[in-house]
């Protein structure tokens, strides 16, 4: 091994030290948290969850296709998924896995050759890509072997093709970034790519259900009507090669991947040498001003909320929401279930007006009930913030009025827009704007009532005062989540019972509003 390294012009001892350090950092580092939402205090490292997400994507995709498509399409779709996942993973963790400019401050002044450093970094990236590649290989290989049109050769041809795709994609991404901007991908692109994995899981889970439930043949018809541009996707000939046992395209793919890997390594070396010439202190640092919440609406908000104290908390929470992207991500994801119901309902023709009282008219109400049942989860998430040390400002004003301000901020930022958009969707889908407006009104009243109840249970201490590490799970809020979920279901049932009569429905909304006021006065 040592002889080989020396032949390559690599210093064996520094190489081993660097590689060991990089791998140890990968295994316990927190940087993979961007793609997984994992926090520093968790027992299992974020890298583990990255692998878990890859396994989930691959399992969902193969389960969706099993028995429904031919082997070539099965291979093509799985290989394409590998390419997308590897690309997103490399983009998100580019600096940590492939090229960290901070390396210059740690090893730049030591006698480590660029060849040694770049091989260590290249191998570190290769291990990361290999892990993802293996995670994306297992299910298509094992389950694909059970397809009626595959043979034993699938067992080695598919992993081979998958390795070709994973290595080729990673090498291509590395070449593009290392030969262009040494700083790597921009933050916005990294954030978008970080969402790719989560979105892929959601798209496969919900989209798969949609395809299976709508009875239109969905996934089985896709291979029969491929758009012409698909023939230019490199994974298509590889998919055919795996299914047909044709070795020539696989050897060609391997050669291209190997060539790309060599080019990527050369580009990485050049990038390191370029950065080495620039002293880290000479680098220009740009700091953009954090977004600020507006102040124009504050007098109006103070008037609506009944005082300056709740208005101040309202403004503070809106400011935190504008600045804390992690908090925003935690809050928005709780809407996954109601959003999925609102999308799948119309697509599967199960979104009739509740006044029709049929089995297909339950879902519009269920969407709002589901939305209300997510409130405790969102309120629990709002207890934590990365700026938790500044929460002493809230302690002064915390109490019924503070809760009111925070509650209104959460509702106006996240829930009211959803209810209004949902009412708009219903108006369009039902062609009945009055009934849709009434639907929205009851939704707002239901959210108001449930949020008042949950706020008293969950927000005893000031919000935003806990480090995010404890905000990732439901923790002590489970009882409230279950209770509010049950209550929302019961109220949804009552709503369904009165839905045929508009006046009774309006009365139901008024009753909820009064009940909300009662809860506030009695619990206070």
């Amino acid at each position: 091994m040592e002889a080989l390294l020396r032949w390559l012009g690599v210093q064996p001892r520094p190489f081993r030290a660097l590689l060991r350090t990089f791998v140890a950092l990968d295994l316990r580092g927190q940087f993979y948290g961007l793609a997984t939402g994992a926090k520093a205090g968790e027992l299992v490292s974020p890298l583990y969850w990255v692998v878990g997400q890859m396994l989930t994507v691959s399992l969902l995709l193969t389960a969706l296709m099993q028995g429904r498509v031919e082997a070539w399409f099965y291979a093509f779709a799985s290989l394409s998924a590998t390419a997308v996942m590897v690309f997103s993973a490399v983009v998100v963790e580019f600096q940590e896995a492939a090229f960290d400019p901070k390396d210059i401050t740690v090893v730049g002044h030591r006698p480590v050759s660029s060849r040694t450093w770049s091989l260590a970094r290249g191998l570190n990236l290769s291990l990361y890509v290999a892990l993802i590649g293996v995670a994306m290989t297992l299910f298509p290989t094992g389950m694909g072997l059970g397809l009626r049109d595959t043979e034993v050769r699938w067992l080695w041809l598919f992993p081979w093709a998958n390795a070709v795709v994973a290595v080729g994609t990673a090498a291509l991404a590395l070449t593009v970034y290392a030969s262009g901007s040494v700083a790597g991908p921009g933050e916005n692109l990294k954030k978008v790519a970080a969402w790719v994995q989560i979105l892929a899981i959601m798209a496969l889970f919900y989209g798969g259900q949609l395809m299976l439930r709508d009875g239109s043949g969905g996934i089985g018809l896709v291979p029969l009507h491929l758009d012409p541009w698909v023939s230019y996707v490199p994974t298509l000939p590889l998919g055919h090669a795996v299914a047909d046992g044709a070795l020539r395209p696989l050897f060609l793919g391997t050669s291209v991947s190997t060539l790309l890997t060599v080019v990527a390594w050369a580009a990485l070396r050049r990038a390191w040498e370029r950065v080495s010439r620039v002293r880290s202190t000479d680098r220009e640092v740009r700091v953009s001003a954090p977004p600020r919440a507006g102040t124009l609406s504050r007098p109006l908000v103070a008037r609506l909320l009944g005082g300056r104290r709740p208005a101040a908390v309202h403004a503070l929470v809106r400011t935190v929401l504008a600045r804390d992207s992690e908090l925003r991500a935690r809050l928005v994801t709780v809407l996954a279930m109601p959003a999925a119901a609102a999308v799948l309902g119309p697509l599967t023709a199960q979104y009739a007006p509740p006044s029709q009282q049929s089995t297909t008219s339950v879902l519009p109400l269920a969407t709002v009930a589901l939305l209300a049942s997510t409130l405790p989860t969102a309120m629990h998430a709002l207890k934590a913030s990365r700026d938790h040390r500044a929460a002493w400002r809230l302690a002064e004003v915390w109490g019924p009025s503070g809760r009111s301000g925070a509650r209104t901020a959460l509702l106006s930022w996240l829930y009211w827009p959803f209810v209004l958009a949902h009412a708009g969707l219903c108006a369009w889908w039902w062609s009945a704007p009055v009934e849709a407006a009434l639907h929205g009104l009851v939704g707002l009243a239901l959210l108001d009532f449930v949020s008042r109840l949950a706020a008293h249970s969950l927000w005893v201490r000031p919000i935003l005062s806990v480090p995010p590490v404890r905000g990732g799970t439901l923790g002590g809020a489970l009882g409230v989540v279950a209770g509010v979920g049950a209550l929302a279901s019961v109220l949804g049932g009552l709503w369904f019972a009165v839905a045929p009569w508009p006046l009774a429905t309006a009365g139901f909304a008024a009753l909820l509003a009064v009940a909300g006021q009662f809860v506030d006065r009695e619990i206070r």
Binding site: G215, S216, L221
Partner: protein, 157 residues
Amino acid sequence: MSAWKQRLRSPRGQVQLMAATLLGAAVFAGALGTQQAFFERYIVEKPPPVEAATRRLATRLDGGERVDLDSADRTRLYELWLQEPGSAGAGVAQALGEASDWLCARVERSLVAGSTAQRLAAIDLAQRAEQCTPVLDAARERARAMGPAEVLDALNP
């Protein structure tokens, strides 16, 4: 902190956890690969129950009566054909065959998303209507690769 938690937090523990997960996934994938019949059980079209009016319409068509069919009528007759292949005959096949593009798209869907019985019914309908030759040719190629044998037998001239 307990010993196993401390062990899990170490790089070695993380590697072991990841290896165990990947090994478990490999075993699970292999086990799922042997359950092809389980997945195929769910490949079936689920049309709504046949209404009495549809049966009456089929009887009229089979009796030689000329009826103008709209899209909903055609869909209901096709669903009758899928669910009760014996209860409709040449008149229904001929009437559906007059809208050949519609029929071919519907037969194609049944051939990929239907159960074996539904596929056989769809093939029978297309052959009686003397339509959809390209769709049946493509289905023959697919059946050669994926089966089942009954479908391939029905498609072979």
